[in-house]
Symmetry: C2
């Protein structure tokens, strides 16, 4: 890791690249079939590598799964939810926009295969504490990003002052995952559109209007 030097050039004997290829292929297989459904042979087939390479970089299938959470899934959540909200000057509007266009942002694979984060959490959290902790950390980062965005919206007057940011962030996460889950159940991306449209219309009730009446 310290000797990055030149490298990269040829596609032979590049440890970092090989590791990344395995990781990415494993992510795709886990997304498709779940952690237990992922077959290491399939991962290797798609990378055109063999057992030796895999077990050189990862001590076990479990360790590979953990690495997928920490290095691939975490990054997706940051890229999709945390950073765009953090960088926005109108975070509530940005949030609503992203929810509304969620089907386009995530693409059909997510609509039919589900959210990679939630899939793994649902499959593994009750079974393996190592997975649970790592996945929970990703959820927490997402939640923190939402809370921060809602607080900023509140302070800037973009959102009702009465809104409970923590609770609202939680219900947003629940609803987003629920919407994706329903679309996956139905195996129809249109279901995702219907569902996120409803969620967006709820989020719009949080927007501070000239004459506003705050609920509980």
């Amino acid at each position: 890791m310290s000797t990055t030097s030149n490298a990269v050039s040829n596609n032979q004997r590049n440890a970092g690249r090989t590791r990344a290829r395995i990781l990415h292929a494993a992510f795709k297989e886990i997304h498709r079939r779940g952690f237990h459904g992922m077959r290491l042979d399939d991962v290797l087939k798609s990378t055109e590598l063999t057992k030796g390479a895999l077990y050189y970089h990862f001590p076990s299938k479990l360790a590979l799964g953990y690495a997928v959470v920490e290095e691939v899934i975490e990054e997706i959540v940051l890229k999709l939810w945390v950073r765009p909200l953090n960088e926005s000057r109108a975070p509530l509007k940005t949030l609503i926009d992203r929810v509304e266009c969620l089907d386009q942002l995530v693409g059909e694979p997510v609509a039919t295969l589900g959210c990679p984060l939630n899939n793994l959490a649902q499959e593994m959290s009750p079974l393996d504490e190592g997975f649970r902790q790592r996945l929970d950390r990703v959820f927490q980062h997402w939640h923190a990003g939402l809370v921060d965005a809602l607080e900023r919206a509140k302070n800037s007057g973009e959102m009702h002052a009465g809104v409970n940011s923590t609770q609202t962030a939680t219900i947003i996460m629940a609803a987003v995952e629920g919407c994706i889950g329903l679309a996956k159940s139905a195996q129809r991306i249109e279901r995702l559109q219907d569902c996120t449209a409803a969620l967006a219309s709820y989020l719009r009730t949080l927007v501070a209007k000239p004459a506003s009446t705050a609920g509980s």
Copy 2:
């Protein structure tokens, strides 16, 4: 099946009861480990039966899974959501009450193991069309029950006239499943309470008040 006669008395040689025992044990195992995680040997161990009994009543593991959906999970949804709403004179209030007390209604197993319906849907819908259709049917029954309840609430003046019942029913299902999913991820039943409280407060915004202002 036609010769029900007396039967039931002794615990030996009662085909209907044996089948039901297998079905219920299979449901518990599926709830715990998922369909692929369910081991037929474990199901049989908990029922104190053997392979012969299982394969006499069910042609395959898949058929057993289908039967669990059609005969166990469907019934749970009807009992928990459809019938109480259908029998209520104030369906929106009943709905809010049930969402608010969801953690008590479903108990800790659901909070830590997740919703049996949604678990199976998330695991199997992308992989097996037979499961998908059967699970989708259950979701549809739930959805229809919610739509009916919301429509009745609208007609009786319990709920805003402007609410889109179909869309709202969808987002309620999504949010409920999302809440249970988050609680499962965290492996903490308190998370379910936090989450359903937020959902309930949203649902209360649908209640028609003397001086009401309908949103979009």
